[in-house]
Structures are given as C-alpha cells and as structure tokens.
C-alpha cells in the first residue's frame, strides 16, 4: 500500500534519488543535496508550525509501505513572491481599431506581472516512473487538496499551480528560444537553474519591461503559450478536476500555464467530509481519499471502501497506514470527481 505523508528528515536520500530522475523545466526540484536538505528543514518546521504561515512549505512524500521506498513527492507553499518577486506573464488584450479604415485588430499581449504574489502554490510534484499506474498519480496530486480542506486557514485565498511548459523532444523551449533568449542571452537550462537557486533578481533586470505582442513571435512559440509539457498533460487534468483553471497567466520562461482557484471553490473544500473510523475487514466501494486530521503527521491513502452515517470502514492495514486507532476521525473525498 502507498501512503502520502508529511516529509521527515530521514527522507533526504530518497528525495535526492527522486530528484535525479526529474528532467529539465522543473525549477523547484533540482537534484542538489544541500538545497533539498534545507527544503526538508523548512518543511519540518512548517508541519511543526514553528515558522510563519506564509513562509511554510508543506512537503509530502508518497511511501511504498511494502519496502519503504519513496514513490513520489509533492508540496504546497504557503505563499509565493513575498521574499523575492514572483513573475508571470499575464495574457492581456489590446484592441487596435480604425473606423476610417474599417480595421479591427484584437491583439494578445504578454504583460510581465507580479499579480500572483501572496498566493499559495502547489508545486514540486513528481511520481517515480515505476509507480505510474493505477490510482497512484491521483493519490499523490490530490492528497494536497485534502490537506488544504483540513487546514484552510493556513493558506491564502487563492491557490495556484505552475505547470511545466511545452518543450521540444530535445528539451529546448520554443518560447524561450524566441523570446527570453534575446533578453537573457543564455540557454534555457541555465536560466532555469538560476531561478531554482533563488537568483531571481536577474529576471527583473533582464526581462522586457513593456508588454509584448504575441503576434510578433514565430508560430512555434505562439503555439506554446499556455501549453503544457506533453508529460504534464495528465497532471493538468487532475488539477482541473479539482476545480483549478487556466486564467491567462503563463511562465515567463517556457510559457507553461498557471492554474488557479479560490480555495473555497476547490472540490475538496466543498465536498470532503470528516467521519469516524470503524474497524472492519472486507468492505468494498468506490476509491476514496482518506486522510487523518493531524497537521504534524498528516497521512493520506486511497481506500476502496464505504462510508455511511458518518462512519467509514477501514481495515487494520489502512488504519496503520494512517496511524489511526479505531474511533478516530478521518477526512474523506471521492478520488474521482464524477463519482
């Protein structure tokens, strides 16, 4: 059985191993022992509530209980852009029209913005290739919504998720090649690395300050605006099922879309329930996300079981995975949004 749980200090080796399998374009999960170590420290402090809510970074790992291996990782940041600026392009519209000539041009433009400053962010999702089957991907991604539903006051009004943008097969970004490269005069990978190292001031220094007409870009770059990396398409669908949507903000490097939602509109916040655990074997039903209700040792599993009259049947393995005694409280949400 797989359980998603709050990360712990002992997970550093496993996390580093996972990070080495991540390709380019994912700025928040570089295979750097020092960076990952300090990230785990911040995560532990976050779950312990020893740092301010907006500085927190709740990181979760998915553990295979059969062998203790880490099958995936994901995180929620309390707030973005409060220590260093958080940049996106907002896609705006400029209309150029002349009655005299009978011309009406509706032009899409890219505006450099810090509009998403202060939002909470879903980030750093990575699922080990060996575990890409069944309900694992959904468990890993959606576990975070259960956490948010359980502790909504820890988060900002708005939640965002930056999706990896479209890259060519060789890992290069058509959007970067047509735009960023002219202003940064460096390769995509290097700019990406610098961002992940937190050296973001160079963005403000080097990015074009004026809005850009998307029409100036070559077709390949235009088409990449708001498009996710092929491998990220399923992840995008999962988030959209949970109530997140693309509203015209994209990454300034690869033009990947930013999904966003108000926390109170998330499916998990609207539809999840807290119920009592009943010890039972052999229960059957549609897959449910089930979490305990503890911040410091938050745990989520998928259980195919039944909930009725404010009670849910969980067997011993499931209760152990959640570190719960019989009679404890759990939060539940159907795994699939249409169920």
């Amino acid at each position: 059985m797989l359980v998603v749980r709050a990360i712990a200090e002992k997970d550093l080796d496993g996390l580093l191993d996972l990070a080495t399998r991540v390709g380019g374009g994912m700025t928040t999960l570089k295979a750097d022992r020092g960076m990952l170590g300090s990230r785990i420290d911040i995560a532990c402090a976050s779950f312990a509530e020893s740092i301010a809510p907006e500085a927190r970074d709740y990181m979760f790992v998915m553990e295979d209980l059969a062998n203790g291996a880490l099958a995936g990782v994901c995180a929620i940041k309390g707030a973005v852009g409060l220590e260093e600026p958080f940049y996106n392009y907002r896609i705006g519209t400029l209309v150029h029209s002349s009655k005299e000539l009978g011309v009406f041009s509706r032009m899409e433009t890219l505006y450099l913005s810090n509009d998403l400053t202060g939002c909470s962010e879903l980030c750093s999702l990575f699922l080990h290739p060996d575990y890409r089957s069944g309900t694992n991907g959904r468990l890993l991604s959606k576990s975070r919504f259960l956490f948010i539903a359980q502790f909504p006051d820890l988060f900002a009004e708005k939640l965002i998720a930056e999706m990896r943008g479209f890259l060519r097969d060789d890992g290069s970004s058509p959007f970067w090649d047509s735009l960023g490269q002219h202003f940064f005069k460096m390769e995509f990978e290097r700019a990406d690395d610098l961002t992940s190292l937190g050296k973001k001031s160079f963005i403000a220094e080097l990015m074009p300050r004026h809005p850009l007409y998307i029409d100036y870009l070559p077709a390949e770059a235009r088409d990449a605006v708001g498009l996710v990396h092929t491998a990220t398409a399923p992840a995008r669908r999962l988030l959209e099922q949970e109530g997140m949507y693309y509203e015209g903000y994209v990454d300034i490097f690869d033009a990947g879309p930013v999904l966003q939602a108000r926390i109170r509109e998330l499916r998990a916040v609207r539809d999840s329930d807290v119920v009592q655990v009943a010890a039972a074997d052999g229960a059957q039903g549609a897959p449910l996300l089930v979490s305990n209700t503890r911040l410091a040792d938050f745990r989520v599993i998928v259980a195919e079981t039944e909930a009725c009259d404010g009670r849910i049947a969980l067997n011993e393995d499931q209760r152990n995975a959640l570190c719960l005694p019989a009679g404890g409280a759990v939060r539940i949400l159907s795994l699939n949004h249409h169920a």
Partner: protein, 338 residues
C-alpha cells in the same frame, strides 16, 4: 540651364504627367490631378503667407529645364505634423544589466514617437530620369534648404526627410509584413494609397503598437531592411547625406525606410553658405560651381553657376545667371558650394 522656382498654377498638367511614371510607395507625390492641384494651390498660399511661426505651410518647387519642361519637383513643409502628430519609430537601445550575473548587453527597440512633429519636412522629391540625372538633382533637393536659409522664420530649427524603404517588384515590404500588417490587415501599397503616404493621421495612433517593438523579435528579413533605402531613393539619400543629414535615429513606421534628420546648424545650406552682393561688370565664365539663389520669398530662384568672390563678399556670376535669378548688380544672393 536648370532653374528651381516655386511651383505655379500652370504646372499642374506637367506635374501630373511626371507623377504617372513615378513608382508607387517610393514617392510622397500626390498622384491624382485633384491632389496635385490641391498641393499647388496650398504652395501658392504658403509662399504668399506672412509667417510669424511655422505652421501648416508647404512650399513646392519645380526644376525647370532649359527647354521649359519640368525635370523634377520637390517640397518642404514648415512643420511635419501641421495637421496632426507626425509618427516615426525611434531607434532606442535598452541596456540589459545584471550585476549578479555579470551580464551587460543591449537590446534594440523601436518606439513609436512623435518627436518629428515640430520638425520641418523635406518631401516629394521627384527627378525625371533620376538614373542619369546630373548635378541638377542636387540643385533641386538643396534649393529647398537655401530657401529655408533665406527665410528661416518660415521653418523649424530641425529638418528631416523620410525616404522609401525596401520593397520588392510587387510592392511587398518585409518590414510591413512583420509589423504593420499585423495591425492593419492590409497590403502595404493599399494602405499607402488610402492615406496618401501620410504619417500624421490619427488612425496611426489607433492602429500602431504603443509599446516598444523589440527588434530581436522581428523576423530576420524585416530586421535586414530597417533603415535601408529603396533603390530609387539612393540619389536623394546621397544628396541629403552630403548636405549634412544623419540617418541613424529614426525609421519609417510602415516600411522601415530611413529618416534623415539634422539641426539646421549641421546643414551646409545654413552653416556653409554665404550671402554676397552681386558685382556688375559683364559676368564671368570660370569659377567653382555653386548653388546660387536669390533672397526673394515671393519669387525664389536657384541655379547652379560658377561664382568668383572678392574679399568684400562680392560675387561675380555669369550674365545668364543674373537673368535666371531675376536679379541685377547690387542684389544679394545666397551661395553654397556644390
């Protein structure tokens, strides 16, 4: 002898014949009989006007050949934006500096600007058989500035001329394709026809980009023609460069053609010309070739002639020159070396 003089009402038919063989998109000449008649009428009014401050006057000159035919025409407007704002792209350099990363480079951007609105504008230069034209082409072009030098109160301190940019045989402009077309949804020549080549129309504000255009984002084909003059514009480009105009600061918003500009102090018609009194005594045949013009605002004349100077700002000219300029001994003329 070629003589430059203000256009007259009787010149309309000859101007129309010249306009019919001019290449579209290359000349700011009016093309229709009505347009030409209007321009001539406006010029007559302008020459007759008592001017305190330069405004919407436009002065049109013709180059009359010895046989009385019109070998060319050229105009100068008191202010480019008299009936609106004159738009151009200014070449800007944006410095990109990051100390953290030890990066410093510059990005070239084009900014829609109205800097040229108050400038005086040289326009509508047309030379019949320009490929084989001799020094009379320079006479025609530079006579406008001699007029400005003799009547500076009619003009601004700064002057510019916008020359046609690169187009192919079918009139396709690579610069327009990359920029203007995206906003106008039309062919370059269609727009030029619709707005008579004007750059001071409010529809430009309505349609053209308000924000700087970053040059590296334009296709290479468009970048390559920025500031490049159309083949047929090489002659006026050479004449104006020689006169002291500089091409680097602005380009045309539609075809990317060069805009030459200068402060009058940088122009030879102002800084390297001299006013001299015509000496009597039979005239001369030898002497360095000069542009010579009279100082009459209402009956301006300019010719090419050999001139010999004495130490007291006196000048001896050939007899025929005095006749062509409508002057006699004792009158003052402006002389500029060719």
């Amino acid at each position: 002898m070629f003589v430059v003089r203000p256009v007259a009402a009787t010149d309309v038919a000859a101007l129309e014949a010249n306009a019919s063989v001019a290449t579209p998109g290359v000349h700011t000449l009016p093309k229709t009989r009505e347009g030409i008649a209007r321009a001539v009428e406006h010029s007559l009014t302008s020459f007759a006007a008592k001017v305190d401050l330069p405004s919407d006057e436009a002065y049109m000159f013709v180059l009359e050949a010895a046989d009385g035919s019109l070998a060319g025409s050229a105009s100068i407007s008191a202010t480019a934006g008299s009936k609106g704002t004159f738009f151009a792209f200014r070449n800007d350099v944006i410095q990109q500096v990051s100390r953290d990363l030890n990066i410093s480079h510059s990005v070239h951007a084009l900014t829609l600007c109205s800097d040229l609105t108050r400038y005086s504008q040289l326009s509508s230069f047309y030379m019949r058989g320009w490929r084989t034209a001799g020094q009379e082409a320079a006479l025609l072009s530079r006579a406008r500035l001699l007029f400005a030098a003799s009547a500076p109160h009619r003009f601004a301190d700064r002057f510019f001329a916008s020359l046609a940019g690169v187009t192919d045989e079918s009139g396709r402009s690579p610069f327009w394709e990359a920029l203007g077309r995206k906003f106008f949804h039309m062919d370059f020549l269609d727009v030029e026809r619709m707005i008579d080549g004007a750059r001071n129309r409010s529809l430009i504000v309505e349609l053209m980009p308000h924000y700087p255009v970053y040059v590296p984002l334009l296709p290479g084909e468009a970048q390559a023609v920025m500031g490049q003059v159309h083949g047929e514009g090489e002659l006026p480009f050479a004449i104006l460069s020689d006169e002291g105009f500089e091409p680097d600061e602005f380009i045309d918003i539609f075809d990317g053609g060069p805009i030459l500009q200068a402060h009058r102090n940088g122009l030879r018609a102002f800084s390297a010309s001299r006013r001299c009194r015509v000496l009597g005594g039979g005239g001369i045949r030898e002497g360095a070739l000069h542009l010579v013009s009279n100082l009459r605002e209402d009956d301006f004349r300019a010719v090419l002639a050999p001139a010999a100077f004495d130490e007291h700002d006196g000048v001896s000219l050939p007899g025929a020159t005095g006749e062509a300029l409508n002057i006699g001994a004792g009158d003052i003329v402006t002389c500029a070396k060719l």
